[in-house]
Subunit: 211 residues, 2 copies
């Protein structure tokens, strides 16, 4: 019962924080939307700031966990690991797209929370992506580009649909929250991967928009 | 005299909007920092919202203008045009780094202003970058990647130092506002360009951090 209540609170809070921002959302709004007693929010989370932080932290925990478990599952094949990481991270974000968007938007600010999230989750993300990129380069005997530049590009591609959803929507008429978009975008990031690592296979030539 | 006053107002407003956000800044704060009479701000700009919009608009005007004039100046050589666009756009943003950061942060919101800026400046940016990327592909007989994916990557690289400055600072110990950073980052984006278009020259192998 309490897990169910917590899920209702988290769901309502994500929708409201996403739509109205942190300052535009009150604990009362969240309680009303979740149809729970306002006191329960304080009981479970200790308040609005703590609830918000727990949502964003949970997102990055899942995000880094996805990369880590995938990397461990494909330890002997870096190229396969990278391909799987791209697909699973995009699928993970799509499964919680409002939260993903809210979390990436938060990271554009300059706050204590952001610095904490960076020094824990994003430093770990960077480390894991460096491992897999360096692994691919060793496996494919390709080292034309510096590892850190490839990591930056890779990271940008992974978060793009959720860090710049309006840009994709307005200029490419794409809807990143859509399941079909994720499928198509995965193919395109894998085309990118083939170019960067100069894999021999033929890459798809279709545009993002027209399959 | 009036141009000088306007410059003082813009300078003070950029610093305050950047540090404290739109809602955390008042016309009074701006007037005080610029050492001008508060009434002059209303006289020149018509208020805080209009001043903010004029700053962001001016940034994107300069941004698109930089791409456009560079493309026209190198009309016969797409590869040269792309190389120059990367360098000049990064130099332009570095020359007004607070404003650049403020403008890119604004674009993560979902507002009427953002939609207007997208449908004018960013649509034009997209068109111009598509021209130059397609030109490079034709010139180098290389069409492994779809144009729109390369445009997205290129755009991400161009804005990254100002859209994610904290990320670069915290995880790579880099300071995007620094002149030396821009110089180094230009070299790295050109290494990216060589890989994407499979140019024959040797690419630098150094890391972003250690030259």
């Amino acid at each position: 019962m309490s897990e169910q209540t917590k899920a209702l609170i988290k769901d309502a809070a994500t929708q409201l924080f996403y739509a109205n921002g942190f300052h535009g959302t009150s604990v009362r709004d969240i309680a009303k939307k979740a149809k729970v007693n306002q006191a329960l929010i304080s009981y479970y989370y200790g308040g609005k700031q703590a609830l918000f932080e727990s949502l964003v932290t949970e997102f990055f925990e899942g995000y880094v966990h996805t990369i880590e478990t995938t990397l461990h599952a494909c330890q002997d094949d870096a190229t396969k690991a990278l391909r799987e990481i791209i697909e699973r991270v995009l699928t993970y974000q799509q499964s919680c797209h409002l939260l993903a968007r809210m979390a990436h938007r938060e990271m554009t600010l300059d706050s204590t929370l952001v610095r904490e999230l960076m020094s824990t989750y994003l430093r770990k993300e960077q480390y894991l992506l460096e491992q897999v990129v360096a692994g691919c380069m060793a496996q494919l005997k390709q080292n034309k580009l510096p590892v850190d530049l490839v990591v930056l590009q890779l990271r940008n591609m992974l978060i793009l649909p959720y860090s710049s959803p309006q840009y994709l929507r307005e200029l490419f008429l794409l809807t990143p929250a859509d399941h079909l978009f994720t499928k198509r975008y995965v193919q395109h990031t894998q085309a990118w991967m083939k170019t960067v690592f100069q894999l021999p296979e033929k890459t798809p030539k279709s545009r993002l928009l027209h399959v």
